[in-house]
Amino acid sequence: MANYNTLTPELIEQLKAAAPGHLLTGDEINEDYAHDEMPIYGKRMPDALLMATSTEEIAAVMKICNENLIPVTPRGAGTGLVGGCVPMYGGVVIDTTKMKQILEYDLDNFIVKIQPGVLLQELADDCAKQGYLYPPDPGEKLATVGGNVSTNAGGMRAVKYGATRDYVQAMKVVLPNGEITDFGASVSKTSSGYSLLNLMIGSEGTLGIITELTLKIIPAPKKVISLIIPFEDLESAIATVPKLKAANLGPQALEFMEREIVLSSERYIGRAVFPKEIEGAEVGAYLLVTFDGEDEDSLFDLVEKASDLVLEEGAMDVLVADTPAKIKDAWAARSSFLEAIEAETKLLDECDVVVPVNKIPDFLTFSKKWGEECDLIIKSFGHAGDGNLHIYQCSNDLEEDEFKRRVDIYFEKLYEEAVACGGLVSGEHGIGRGKVKYLKESVGETNMALMEGIKKVFDPNLILNPGKVCYTL
């Protein structure tokens, strides 16, 4: 158990000297730094905030904090959903959003080097200008790429291209003792000891602070087509997914969504995009699928095969988005789901579970049944292609304590069921503070002890992001 010290005026002066003009304290700190996008996991203001501008500055601050047992919590844009960047024990928050330079491209080797505070949207747009694609595509485009790496964020295109982990080749890291080191290399494969790089990816700021990233990019596909596929109900929509995958058509993204969440999202964005009725029959669920390719004719061949397949499997119709404006509109509705739920909900929690693809319908049925049992409003969507479901628990009338009590029962049931059918606690949002208990139950004592051991090797004084992932106080 770590005994942390509090920041004294003398220590604050030391920190200010280490980061001139970039350390904020007291009223200078915006209250947003007390929480992420899921405030239900607790709020706490940091005692000091470093608006970091360089690796060296972070190293200097880390060294002082380590020597004086001051907890440090790294933070990107604060868009996390598990309380990962909340400084639960006070101390210093290190914000990396000012480190937002795209440093260099090495297009011969398909590599871009960036600082961690570059936003996902900025990186995507900049790569597109070069004719390249950074494939990871999490829904929150205003997250920092450093944050994406810290949670191994997945996103829509993971079904074809994989998650963030698959695109990180190297990184510069400040260790908790202030030492600066490099993990990985700008080469396409390695077999050189334990992969410290892969330990860092998804470690949610508990092992070190990422200050530079070398990422893999690919030539941008020449042509992209999205299909909006309405079904009468969710079961028939999901039942189509394994068949679509088995047909080896290689969709880039394969999302499912229920009618209710689409209606919420369209209310939020103020425009109707998805069809609600096909020839008099009400649409109950949708698949949103994207294919990419090198030329229009071969891509249309692919799209035609996919359409024949889904129509045979009971799709009500297939709508084609093949112009940039139409593709953008279709995905804008999908990308606004979380904001739409937030806009209509007072209390909110989320289960970011991953299950085998063929278990999705049963699992969603189970989730609805337990939503009724716990008397919670349940709204769901997710990545049908990789079994990653986002199941939101909502309430507009419960007191917070009662809401939390019910959600706890709900989570216990859902995660137990997820593990029983071969799934895991988190598909892409991470563990943070909110899911530690369920991680323990899911992976077991042996694996948790290994994680705790790794944590102590990196961070013997346990100052970095305490209370998160595997180490609780």
Binding site: K129, R271, A272, P275, L319, V320, T323, P324
Partner: protein, 263 residues
């Protein structure tokens, strides 16, 4: 009602376009597509005929490549498409475009044996943003004209249309045939179905060569001559005030503004 919608093929307006080394806009990353306001015009037309009967025809002036936007239009409710071929249209002014459209429309009417009751254009194109072709087309055809409509219903006089103004809306009754430009209604153009999309891709779109439209030499002579593209001057770097203390920073700002005679 027989409705003709004029569609301009433009570069994708969601892509940032810069001048290339040759001083011309580099359009390599901007796929060609139907001008957004023209697609609004087509959706308005298709909704009108679905409600009131009739058919929608689309036409586009330009090179062979313009058939792309015509095929997209066929997939979302147009019954027929005509390509008016002119490889040199990119350098023409709005009057030449309107004159060629007017001549082409007469040929389309002859070929299809129809007389259009309503001819629609988008209020402006997203590339040139001239906003003149609709008006000049009405002039060339000698037809009544209403700009910026967002709604049209049949009326004893012909049509009653809702015209968008900066301050609100104006309801206008007009006889037909008429020419109108369309602004953004409160709905979006529909998505094509896979069936309509694949069918449209297979359609052979007839072409009317410019020479066959009978356009006069005067009508195809630009009155406005294109002078060239020029990028706006780059903003000069500003002065960064980096004093640590707010009071010093304010003092520095005043010092700079006083020196530059801003104050």
């Amino acid at each position: 009602m027989e409705i003709l919608v004029c569609i301009k093929q433009v570069p994708d307006d969601s892509v940032e376009i810069r001048l290339g080394a040759d001083g011309q806009p580099d359009l390599s990353a901007a796929d060609p597509q139907g001008n957004a306001f023209d697609t609004y015009a087509q959706e308005l037309a298709v909704r009108f005929v679905e409600e009131n009967g009739g058919a929608v025809t689309v036409a586009s002036v330009g090179p062979e490549d313009n058939k792309t936007c015509l095929k997209n239009a066929l997939a979302v409710g147009a019954a027929k498409a005509h390509h008016i071929s002119d490889d040199g249209i990119a350098g023409a002014d709005a009057a030449v475009t309107a004159n060629l459209l007017a001549a082409g429309i007469k040929k389309i009417e002859e070929a299809d044996g129809v007389k259009f009751d309503l001819i629609l254009c988008g209020r402006e194109s997203t590339d040139a943003i001239g906003g003149e072709v609709g008006e000049l087309l009405a002039e060339a055809l000698g037809l009544p004209f209403v700009s910026d409509i967002v709604e049209a219903v049949p009326d004893a006089a012909g049509l009653k249309v809702k015209k968008e103004l900066e301050s609100g809306y104006l309801m206008v009754e007009t006889p037909v045939p008429a020419v109108m430009t369309v602004s953004k209604p409160d709905y979006d153009p529909r998505y094509p179905t896979i069936k309509s999309k694949l069918a449209a891709r297979k359609v052979k779109i007839p072409t009317i060569a410019k020479a066959d439209t009978g356009i006069s030499a005067d009508a195809e002579t630009p009155k406005v001559v294109f002078a060239g593209f020029e990028e706006p001057p780059k903003r000069e770097a500003g002065v960064k005030i980096q004093e640590d203390e707010p009071a010093d920073a304010v003092a520095k700002a005043f010092e700079i503004m006083t020196a530059d005679k801003v104050l």
